[in-house]
């Protein structure tokens, strides 16, 4: 069985991510599941399953995310530090990391030597987060992946004026009932979300390259529009959703 030196657990608001690394920081495994409210039990179950294939008896465990307080870990670190660490080690460069999660966004300025220089988070408002798209996805019964495809293929867009995740949903319905094409409305919805993220990037001071992490980074429409808005093609890891857990695991290596 392969020996796992460190495990990072990112207990986010919508998904639970677990990453194991060997002593050089190479990823040995990664697991992603929808977050269960009983996060402690869910984590124990997943770690139990991993024991069948990996030697994790002496692994350091570092937890991050909103559910981290419920997890038994050697260390707890914020998502900001973990995402910065994960994304810096993945791309080996400083710059501006944008983590678009299920319920919050973080823009992190990372120095050339991988340290967090400054950061900004959304507060009291889910505008521009994954939930912004998910609300409409549920309402229209179209997957977020399909919505992204529609947005990319659309040759036009309807301006969605609301940046509120709840009001945007009703505005989408209102636009459709006025006869606007679905793909135009969906593209407008993505644009509203991306503009919210862009304003956060400018608020902190954009320093290229742009690096994306979090589940929403897999949405090609969001990535494309961020490039349009910021004039910089974003770097996206192969699996952007695990960057926080990866960073946590790397922090465990230095413990």
């Amino acid at each position: 069985m392969e020996k796992v030196k460190s495990i990072g657990i990112d207990a986010g608001s919508t998904t639970l991510k677990i990453v194991g690394v060997e002593e050089e920081g190479k990823i040995l495994f990664s697991v992603i599941e929808d977050a269960d409210p009983k996060i402690e039990e869910q984590t124990d179950k997943l770690l139990g399953e991993l024991r069948n294939n990996y030697d994790i008896e002496n692994s350091k465990i570092v937890a991050t995310g909103y559910g981290s307080n419920l997890i038994k870990a050697d260390k707890k670190v914020t998502e900001i530090t973990c995402h910065a660490k994960g994304i810096y080690e993945y791309f080996k460069t400083g710059g501006t990391a944008v983590d678009i999660g299920g319920q919050d966004n973080k823009v992190i300025l990372i120095s050339k030597n991988g340290k967090v220089v400054d950061f900004i988070m959304n507060d009291k408002c889910a505008s521009g987060t994954g939930r912004f798209l998910e609300n409409t996805s549920w309402r229209l019964k179209i997957s977020t992946e399909k919505m992204a495809e529609l947005a990319i293929s659309s040759d036009n867009e309807v301006k969605i004026s609301s940046t509120c995740a709840v009001f945007a949903e009703s505005e989408v319905i209102s636009q459709l009932s006025r006869g606007q094409k679905l793909e135009h409305v969906i593209k407008g919805l993505h644009r509203a979300m991306v503009k919210r993220i862009t304003s956060m990037v400018y608020a902190i001071g954009f320093n290229p390259p742009l690096m994306l992490s979090g589940g929403v980074a897999k949405n090609k429409a969001v990535a494309q529009m961020l490039e349009e808005e910021l004039g910089e093609k974003p770097l996206i890891p192969e699996n952007p959703q695990i960057m926080g857990a990866f960073g946590a695991a790397l922090i465990g290596l230095s413990e």
């Binding site: 900001i80 530090t81 919050d104 340290k115 400054d118 507060d123 009291k124």
Partner: protein, 365 residues
């Protein structure tokens, strides 16, 4: 860690009443404690209080009024200030000025109502203005209390406050030698909002006795804003192996005044307030505020500043963008948190504070 018992506001009020003192409920921020004390009046400050149900007050106030004023009015409307004889409202900002008008024009309290007009900038004319304003209040209090304290009595009370300010200043400078958590330290400093000067001074002297030579091996931050409510915010900072090394808070450091020069008690009280530390409600320049914050960092060895702003506090928010830019250029990291004194601390706030302290410590290495 040192433990110091602090009586509650209620206990202090009951004791003061039993000693025949009058009670003045005083809204934020600046006022001369010594003026009230010379009339045998116990000033009890009303900073909210936090976690108040504000629905009754909301009927009188616009939705963009801060939670400190909302709670302050709600507290009155819930008859929690009935025990007071006097209500004093310094015109610290538009919202507090509005509160004074609401009391005067719509509520007509049975209490003696005192408004305090505060000048803004540091200059001779403003000392003269405030000196005259304090004479007006002295006259109002004389009529209300039925006697007029002598100049000697006023000077005696002024000197007590000056002495306390000096000790508080000393404690700030040796903060990292004090065996107190952030919450413990500020619970004591904030008891000045209602304790008698003698009782407050005895607590400060007790802390001084326990100052050690060893320093707290923790990362310091400067805490800026109106007030640290909920006080649990300090526990989050301490949990991260950090501590509040210095502050720029309206309820604390911004009211640690220097000694006055004048032999005239009114002028001396005015000098102390007008020449006090920079304060957003006093309209100090950006450079004065930046210089002051920078000096707090230098004195305390703190690594960053947390701006803990009460939502809708216009004076605080007015300064923030320029201060953030100036601090950043000077290599000083800062974080802004928006708070409402009636709400619990959100998870987002906890994450931000923790991430900020992680960033400061990482950059220390």
């Amino acid at each position: 860690m040192l433990h110091i018992d602090i009586p509650s506001r209620k206990e202090v009020i009951e004791k003061a009443k039993s000693e025949g003192k009058k009670i003045a409920a005083i809204y934020p921020i600046h006022y001369p404690r010594e003026l009230f004390r010379s009339f045998n009046i116990q000033p009890i400050e009303v900073w909210g209080p936090p976690k108040t149900d504000t629905k009754k007050a909301n009927a009188h106030l616009q939705s963009y009024i801060c939670s400190v004023v909302q709670s302050g009015l709600a507290f009155y409307l819930e008859k929690q200030l009935d025990i007071a004889d006097i209500i004093a409202v310094p015109h610290s900002c538009d919202s507090l000025q509005g509160l004074g008008s609401i009391f005067k024009d719509f509520i007509n309290p049975k209490h003696e109502l005192i408004t305090i007009y505060l000048p803004r900038e540091k200059n001779k004319e403003n000392v003269e203005f405030l000196s005259n304003e304090l004479k007006r209040i002295y006259k109002q209090l004389s009529e209300f209390c039925g006697f007029s304290p002598s100049s000697e009595k006023l000077m005696e009370e002024i000197k007590k406050e000056e002495e306390i300010d000096e000790i508080v200043d000393k404690l700030y400078r040796i903060r990292e030698n004090l065996p107190l958590s952030s919450r413990g330290f500020y619970a004591i400093l904030r008891s000045r909002e209602y304790l008698s000067p003698d009782e407050f001074k005895s607590k400060l002297e007790y802390i001084l006795l326990h100052a050690s030579k060893g320093r707290l091996k923790k990362t310091g931050v400067v805490f800026s804003g109106l007030l640290p409510e909920p006080m649990e915010i300090f526990d989050i900072i301490d949990e991260m192996d950090c501590f509040v090394a210095m502050d720029d808070m309206a309820c604390c450091m911004r009211r640690v005044y220097g000694k006055g020069n004048s032999d005239d008690p009114f002028e001396r009280m005015a000098e102390r307030i007008v020449n006090g530390p920079p304060d957003p409600t006093k309209g100090n320049s950006f450079n004065e505020r930046f210089g002051f914050l920078k000096s707090l960092i230098e004195i305390s060895g703190a690594k960053g500043i947390v701006f803990y702003n009460v939502k809708f506090c216009e004076p605080e928010y007015f300064y923030h963008p320029i201060l953030k830019e100036k601090l950043s250029k000077a290599g000083i990291k800062s974080l802004i948190i928006e708070t409402d004194i009636n709400e619990p601390i959100s998870q987002q706030t906890i994450t931000r504070i923790k991430a900020f302290t992680e960033m400061l410590r990482e950059n220390e290495q």
